[in-house]
């Protein structure tokens, strides 16, 4: 039995872990949903007002304004909602890749060797370099970034799923099903997939924070989204030119907001993992 993390303590100590976990998942999910909806409703062409340029944070502009007088708070929310969309796309695609490869590995020994080799291959190039290469190959922009992040984050989930599928494959009911003449595809669909579904689900959520962070990183370097898109990476790389002038709010708040979103997804993923783990769920 492990100790509950810090965010599961305090205010709601009368609830049990399952209730608390559900509550945290609900609350953090709500926050993320609100950010996403707000960002979606904001018009990408923010009004520019040069009389208000480079304002430090105030009640009117909680995150300050940039060099064109745009409100940084609005820009940050817009950027975050874009990050969430890209994160969702990339993590779903990467878990689809992971699932397919895990099942391919279970076909026979040669396929298994091939998948292991593929895992080694992708794990041996630094992540950022791989994302840069794929992004260059597919052309920059949202599609390139989603694919690049997806194709570099399937490795861990594939490792987990492959081991899981191998284990289920040695079970007696799979052998029995095999003897009864069921095809491998039928067994994969009816016996194995339902059992690994929760793993896939948690795996997708755990990829999410990494996907968002890597998207921001490559965009910051200039390989991800194009400069006219309102991404956090773009905002931060723009802010580099104004740092020496003391405009600290341009870099500080957008980065902090990104950190909070990543942390929220981490908490959801972590809590779901606890909830779905039968050994811990009833504590």
């Amino acid at each position: 039995m492990t100790e509950a993390p810090w965010y599961n303590k305090g205010l709601f100590s009368s609830l049990n872990l399952r209730q608390k976990t559900l509550l945290t998942i609900g609350l953090t999910g709500l926050v993320l949903f609100v950010i996403f909806i707000c960002g979606w409703m904001i018009d990408a062409n923010l009004p520019t007002d040069f009389t208000m340029k480079m304002q430090a944070p105030s009640f009117l502009h909680p995150f300050g304004t940039d060099w064109m007088g745009r409100d940084m708070f609005t820009r940050t929310i817009k950027g975050l909602s874009l990050s969430i969309v890209i994160g969702i796309g990339a993590s779903i695609i990467s878990s689809i890749i992971a699932t397919i490869l895990a099942f391919v590995a279970s076909v026979n020994k040669w396929f298994d060797e091939f998948v292991s080799w593929l895992i080694d291959l992708f794990a041996s190039i630094p992540h950022i370099l791989l994302i840069m290469m794929i992004s260059i190959a597919l052309g920059k922009g949202a599609f390139g970034v989603i694919m690049a992040v997806a194709f570099s984050h399937w490795v861990n989930l594939t490792r987990v799923l492959r081991a899981e599928v191998l284990q289920i494959n040695t079970s007696e009911y799979v052998a029995l099903s095999n003897r009864l003449g069921r095809s491998k595809l039928w067994i994969a669909k009816e016996h194995i997939l339902p059992l690994v579904l929760s793993q896939i689900f948690v795996g997708t959520l755990l990829v999410f924070p990494h996907a968002i962070m890597h998207e921001a990183s490559v965009t910051f370097l200039g390989f991800g989204l194009s400069p006219h898109e309102p991404a956090i990476g773009i905002i931060l790389s723009e802010s580099m030119s104004y740092l020496a002038m003391g405009a600290w709010w341009l870099a500080f708040f957008p980065g902090l907001a990104l950190l909070i979103v990543v942390l929220l997804f981490d908490i959801i993923g972590d809590n779901l993992k606890r909830l779905l783990d039968p050994g811990e769920a009833n504590n």
């Binding site: 291959l121 992540h127 370099l129 290469m133 260059i136 931060l236 020496a244 950190l259």
Partner: protein, 331 residues
């Protein structure tokens, strides 16, 4: 004394060398094909904004082999690579190997120093948190790790830059050499002055994962029977941590640290970009943005070797340094 079975080690290294060769050939081919698929036209990228006639374009295309099929081009790239040449960098106008050697040595100081700092402090913090599990010290360290694991490296760099360079004015804002000075006239102190902030950024980011790992390992050790027995014998708490805890977790921690070369390289790219430190990271970004394909491919290969070397050392430590594993095979 470490006694190594040299025959077994030779076989192990031989197999690893074969693996590395296959890996490099595959990565060279795949990354080359990826670049070829991109919409970048190498002739156009080389010429930049210069205006040339259609015939000259055709001549250049033929000279560079853009009219060959993809298969022929891949074979051409691999055979040139086998002869030891990585081509000619379009940005720096010198052979790629030269650029990589020069930039990589500049980055190596950054990487090695932050690798050592994060290794030592990550391990110490992990031991402290694990030993004091559940106390406020543990909570502070854990919260620090949680936050650092979720924050983008380059943002940490930006925040440190704002605090220490812009606000406090302790360190210069960028570049490894003061403006108006040649790189070989820089004194050691000037150079060190500019290395501190990037190395510090890279270290505090890298610490998090090692600390969490060490902490979990130590907590596992604390649950073991031999730990309980040592407590029953009345040994002092820190004595047990030293004799039974650290001895058991040191090798896995070092192994993990060697396996982190992948993240180290990625972090270096971002940190160099933030601090304008002229190393391999800046060269990578420049090569990518300005379509210097030979240099980019060269860097991919070098970084692969770098990551592979880290994993190889981790493997060797795991198999040959751990006395328990060594003992089983030697007889």
């Amino acid at each position: 004394m470490i006694k190594i079975n040299s025959k077994k080690l030779a076989k192990f290294l031989g197999l690893k060398a074969v693996r590395l060769m296959i890996l490099l050939i595959a990565i060279a081919a795949i990354s080359f094909i990826m670049i070829q698929l991109s919409p970048i036209d190498p002739v156009r990228a080389y010429l930049g904004q210069r205006i040339v006639s259609q015939e000259q374009l055709a001549i250049m295309g033929e000279y560079w082999g853009t009219n060959l099929s993809l298969g022929e081009r891949v074979m051409g790239w691999l055979s040139t690579l086998a002869s030891g040449s990585m081509g000619f960098s379009l940005i720096y106008r010198v052979p790629v190997t030269e650029v990589i050697v020069q930039k990589f040595t500049a980055s190596l100081t950054l990487m090695v120093s932050s690798w050592i700092i994060s290794g030592i402090f990550g391990f110490l913090l992990g031991v402290l948190a694990g030993a004091k599990e559940g106390t406020w010290i543990d909570k502070v360290i854990k919260t620090y790790c949680y936050i650092l694991q979720s924050s983008p490296t380059f943002w940490i760099g930006l925040v440190l830059l704002m605090v220490f360079s812009v606000y406090l004015g302790w360190f210069p804002i960028g570049l490894s050499v003061p403006i108006g000075q040649l790189s070989d006239t820089v004194t050691f102190w000037q150079w060190l002055h500019r290395l501190i902030l990037p190395a510090f950024t890279l270290s505090i980011v890298e610490i998090a994962s090692l600390t969490m790992y060490t902490r979990d390992k130590l907590i596992n050790v604390k649950k073991s029977d031999y730990f309980l027995f040592a407590q029953a014998r009345g040994e002092s708490f820190w004595g047990i941590i030293k004799n039974h805890g650290i001895r058991n977790i040191l090798i896995p921690a070092i192994t993990i640290q060697f396996m982190s070369f992948n993240e180290l390289f990625g972090g270096t790219i971002l940190v160099e970009q933030v601090f304008a430190y002229p190393g391999i990271g800046q060269a990578t970004v420049a090569a990518g943005l300005r379509s210097d394909v030979p240099l980019l491919l060269g860097i991919v290969l070098i970084s692969t070797i770098f990551v592979f070397a880290g994993n190889l050392i981790a493997d060797i430590i795991y198999q040959y340094v751990d006395p328990r594993l060594r003992g089983e095979d030697d007889d």
